[in-house]
């Protein structure tokens, strides 16, 4: 099968982001989506530490420690970009002003629950940051993750076993083996990589997976 690498996953997500969208890309894998957004279109990247109109990483030597993204990496500001304080930043999320958030996840359930902040392991120091705000923080919340763990267990599940970040908030899951819809109707297949069949997907996830959208 033609499993997507991380760059190809990022490019796949980027294809579904329209011009004019206000977008927050979560820390880690989702950050890579920025590299595949079309340069000739205006897409507004928000970072929850207080930037709208965020640009790419600066050239070496031009980093500014007071111009960083949510992952605390140096970034740049596009012409037309602006800064704001934290209460305004999270009002953009909670208030439904952002169009799209892309998040990483440990697990997503068929009904759109997400677990991505805490494994619940004994002794682990919990840290939540903006995860719970982002999980409910846009008109569409997308997840980008590998479909299976290193030991082959599906991260798209009937019910999350890790502590939840948000309930029923995810609409679509982009993975290395295909794209899935989730929500009140349950999980469905949007597309699958060549060589990974509907049966493969159902067997790997243990979910029924509506394939009507795929057939159409």
């Amino acid at each position: 099968m033609e499993r997507l690498d991380r760059k190809a996953m990022a490019a796949r997500v980027a294809r579904d982001i329209p011009e004019g969208a206000y977008v927050n890309l979560g820390i880690g894998l989702p950050t890579m989506v920025a590299n595949y957004l079309p340069a000739d279109k205006d897409i507004f990247l928000q970072s929850e530490n207080g930037v709208l109109g965020m640009g790419p990483a600066p050239a070496p030597g031009l980093e500014d420690p007071e111009l960083i993204n949510a992952g605390k990496q140096p970034v740049t500001l596009l012409d037309g970009g602006c800064f704001f304080h934290h209460a305004d930043s999270f009002a953009m999320m909670r208030g439904g002003h952002l169009d799209i958030c892309v998040l990483g996840a440990f697990q997503v359930s068929a009904t759109g629950d997400i677990a991505n902040w805490h494994t619940g392991a004994p002794g682990a120091i919990p840290a939540v940051g903006g995860a719970m705000d982002l999980a409910i923080g846009a008109k569409q919340i997308l997840v980008m993750m590998e479909l299976l763990t290193k030991t082959g267990e599906s991260k798209l599940v009937e019910r999350c076993t890790y502590p939840l970040t948000g309930i029923g908030c995810i609409s679509r899951v982009y993975t290395d083996l295909g794209t899935f819809s989730v929500g009140p109707q349950g999980a469905g297949i949007v597309d699958l990589v060549p060589g990974f069949s509907i049966e493969d997907a159902r067997r790997s996830t243990g979910l029924k997976l509506d394939a009507a959208a795929l057939a159409a």
Binding site: G50, D64, P65, K72, H85, A127, V128, M132, I136
Partner: protein, 227 residues
């Protein structure tokens, strides 16, 4: 004449007491008022409750307070990071209390304190471990969690410029929690790279109006910008 400027960081923190609750601005190291914190450490106060986004990065700022074991409790959103070793050690030794708050709820609770609200209903965290035991309400079809304001005795923040009336402008993403923490504390102390004469700040561009700020401390501009 009202002059809120204070000559040194040492003088600015000289009345902070043991057991004080202190908001500290900054997201990671951006906007972290390092010099005010150094002065606080030198003052020797302990049993502090710190409200800040992180629990310290590396060796400076909040991390230095952790290293010196001055903190009894921290209220923050993201304590665990690659360089939070001083907090990690205290946490594992059971020597610090942690109240973990989602970042947007932290901002909203601080803002609520500054705005005089008795509480807020927030959708963030509903149905999760961090809302366990808390009052909830369904309003117009959406579920919310009741959260209370976070007040503090003192806020230590970093801005770019201020004037003697306490008006502030910030620099890039170093702004983060500064404006709302200034509102939520009884005494807001801002370290700035430069104090300008009254009228020197564009009134249309002032971010924090002076009413929210009690002390402004000039810290060497070149060092502050390079930090």
């Amino acid at each position: 004449m009202i002059d809120k400027s204070v000559a040194s960081a040492t003088a600015a923190v000289a009345d902070i007491q043991n057991g004080a609750s202190i908001m500290i601005g900054g997201f990671g190291t951006a906007g972290m008022p390092d010099e005010l914190i150094e002065a606080l450490i030198a003052r020797g106060v302990r049993d502090l409750t710190i409200i800040s986004n992180n629990a310290g990065n590396g060796e400076t700022g909040v991390a230095a307070l952790m290293k010196e074991k001055r903190v009894r409790k921290i209220i923050c959103s993201f304590p665990r990071q690659a360089d939070s070793h001083h907090f990690d050690a205290l946490y594992h030794a059971g020597e610090i209390e942690l109240e973990l708050v989602p970042q947007g709820n932290l901002a909203a609770r601080i803002q609520a304190a500054g705005a005089g609200l008795g509480a807020i209903f927030t959708p963030t965290g509903f149905g999760t471990l961090l809302a366990e035991g808390k009052e909830t309400r369904n309003i117009a079809g959406r579920d919310y969690v009741l959260e209370y304001p976070i007040h503090a005795d003192v806020a230590l923040i970093k801005a770019l410029q201020g004037d003697r009336w306490g008006n502030l402008v910030y620099r890039k993403t170093a702004r983060n929690f500064g404006p709302i923490m200034a509102m939520a504390a009884k005494t807001a102390i801002a370290q700035v790279a430069e104090i300008v004469p009254l009228g020197g700040l564009d009134p249309e561009a002032v971010v924090t109006p002076g009413i929210f700020v009690q002390r402004v401390v000039p810290i060497n501009a070149a060092a502050a910008l390079a930090a």
